[in-house]
């Protein structure tokens, strides 16, 4: 649910519940995006040719 949905109400319940969901999803999404971008850069630089 987003603030532009007709069911949205600007109250504490909606802000805490939906805010918590977006917060968690943002951490996971941003974390994975960062890792994928770093991996692309690492691979382009020729890293990962050997195995650890």
């Amino acid at each position: 649910m987003f603030p532009f949905n007709f069911e949205w109400i600007w109250d504490a319940s909606h802000l805490i519940f939906m805010g918590g969901l977006w917060y968690a999803l943002s951490i996971l999404g941003a974390g994975m995006t960062f890792i994928v971008i770093k991996t692309i850069i690492d691979t382009a630089q020729g890293k990962g040719g050997h195995h650890h």
């Binding site: 649910m1 968690a24 890792i35 040719g49």
Partner: protein, 441 residues
């Protein structure tokens, strides 16, 4: 046939033996899938749920696997956030079990909602006053965390790891895993707790209702606490069973002992809190609502005081005391008995908080209502077990689930007779071309 995919330095059964095992478990899986399709196509009339039992076997299984899967978040929290590095020897398996438990929970819910195509409604049309909404949010997000934790294990497959991109991705995911582990612990705290909170806020059900701290009833904290305490027991229990089946030592004893010790102290403190909670509920909360303790445990064919004693004493106090005593914990039989009792204890707790809550009569004209699940419910509850066994089999065969397996079970190279060695020279050369040592091949 598939030797190139098997981790280096470990021995596995033949491919045909493996496929035979998969086929046997696959039959059970197919039975569960058939029952699941019946529920989806014909509807929830395939179950024995009714107006008394809106929550039934599935919800018990859901709560039980979520509690048992708590080993993943607790082990991850201890390793990545509190720096218990010894747990790195068991974290892969804990993540695998967590992944299986949470995907099973979501599968069971997909059957239980009856209309799985509308599952997304809970996110789009969320009821922000429901603890179950919080459960759905945290459960989905935590499953994403477990998937993120499981992916590097897949990428470490011998062949996939040869591709530089996948190798780098696995390496980078490992490097930043602490962020996801901490997020997972945060999410677990809330969804485990809210599952307990659902029962504790039901003021119309005196058997479940508890006093509150702000908006959270004590059951909120007890559920999180018990998952952190009993989840690792399930991980250890499955490690021991896998070791028994494979005939190998798979995890360093130091890691097992550390996890068992942590679980033991968590259980010990939990069970003290649970006893205090039970005493207060029995002497203050329930009488305040017009009930005596005897009302909850008599005049019915199944729920007697035995279930309270079994949950709190036999499967609570006893394993907790066993695990905090080093001598008992270090004894293989003592450890196995303790974790087995722990697994039964938390499952019993979830049964009581789901099923007995429904059975207890509330109104004067009510009677105890017993519930026996239909075969479709039983089959769909066994379905995740079969799925879990299959995923463990595949992961164990092709992925480095147990990083110390090769070290703990060295393969002794066979010394062929001199004459045969000369004649077999060409065969050895062919093996070397594939990059395999004879033992691995």
């Amino acid at each position: 046939m598939d030797s190139a995919l098997i981790p280096k330095g470990v021995k596995r059964c033949s491919f045909f033996q493996f496929m035979g095992g998969l086929g046997a478990v696959g039959l059970v899986l197919a039975w569960g899938v058939y029952a699941m399709l019946l529920c989806w196509i014909k509807g929830l009339n395939q179950t024995n749920m009714n107006d008394y039992y809106g929550f039934a076997l599935w919800i018990w299984a859901d709560l039980a696997v979520i509690a048992l899967g708590g080993g993943a978040f607790f082990t991850g929290l201890m390793k990545y956030v509190f720096g218990k590095d010894e747990l790195k020897h068991i974290i892969n398996f804990a993540v695998l079990i967590g992944f299986i438990c949470y995907s099973s929970a979501l599968l069971i819910l997909a059957i239980d909602v009856g209309q799985p195509l509308r599952s997304w409604y809970i996110f789009w049309h969320a009821n922000v006053h429901s603890m179950l909404t919080e459960v759905a949010f945290c459960l989905s997000c935590y499953f994403a965390v477990l998937t993120i934790e499981y992916i590097p294990l897949i990428l470490e497959n011998r062949q996939i790891d040869k591709v530089p991109f996948w190798h780098n991705l696995s390496h980078n995911m490992h490097t930043y895993m602490a962020v996801f582990a901490a997020t997972g612990a945060f999410l677990s705290f809330f969804h485990q707790g809210s599952l307990g909170g659902v029962a504790g806020v039901m003021f119309g059900r005196p058997f479940a209702f508890r006093e509150h701290l702000f908006i959270w009833p004590w059951t909120f904290f007890l559920f999180t606490w018990s998952a952190a305490a009993y989840g690792p027991c399930f991980t250890i229990w499955l490690v021991r069973i896998t070791e028994k089946i494979t005939g190998k030592k798979l995890v360093r004893e130091t890691a097992i002992q550390l996890l068992a010790k942590l679980a033991g102290w968590m259980m010990f403190t939990y069970i003290i809190a649970k006893i205090i909670d039970t005493l207060y509920w029995a002497t203050v909360t329930a009488p305040g609502l017009g009930f005596t303790l005897k009302d909850f445990y008599s005049n019915n064919p199944f729920y007697g005081f035995w279930i309270l004693a079994a949950e709190i004493v036999v499967c609570g106090v006893v394993p907790a005391v066993m695990l905090v005593m080093p001598k008992v914990r270090q004894n293989p039989y003592g450890l196995f008995i303790a974790v087995t009792l722990g697994v039964i204890g938390v499952s019993l707790n979830r049964w009581v908080m789901v099923l007995q809550v429904m059975a207890v009569p509330i109104m004067q004209f009510d009677q105890w209502v017993m519930y026996i699940p239909s075969w479709q419910e039983v089959a769909t509850t066994i379905l995740p077990v079969a799925y879990g066994v299959i995923l463990v089999m595949i992961s164990y065969r092709y992925l480095p689930v147990f990083p110390n397996e090769a070290e703990l079970n060295p393969i002794e190279p066979e010394t062929p007779p001199v004459v045969e060695a000369e004649t077999a020279e060409s065969d050895d050369t062919a093996g070397a071309e594939q990059g395999l040592t004879p033992a691995e091949a």
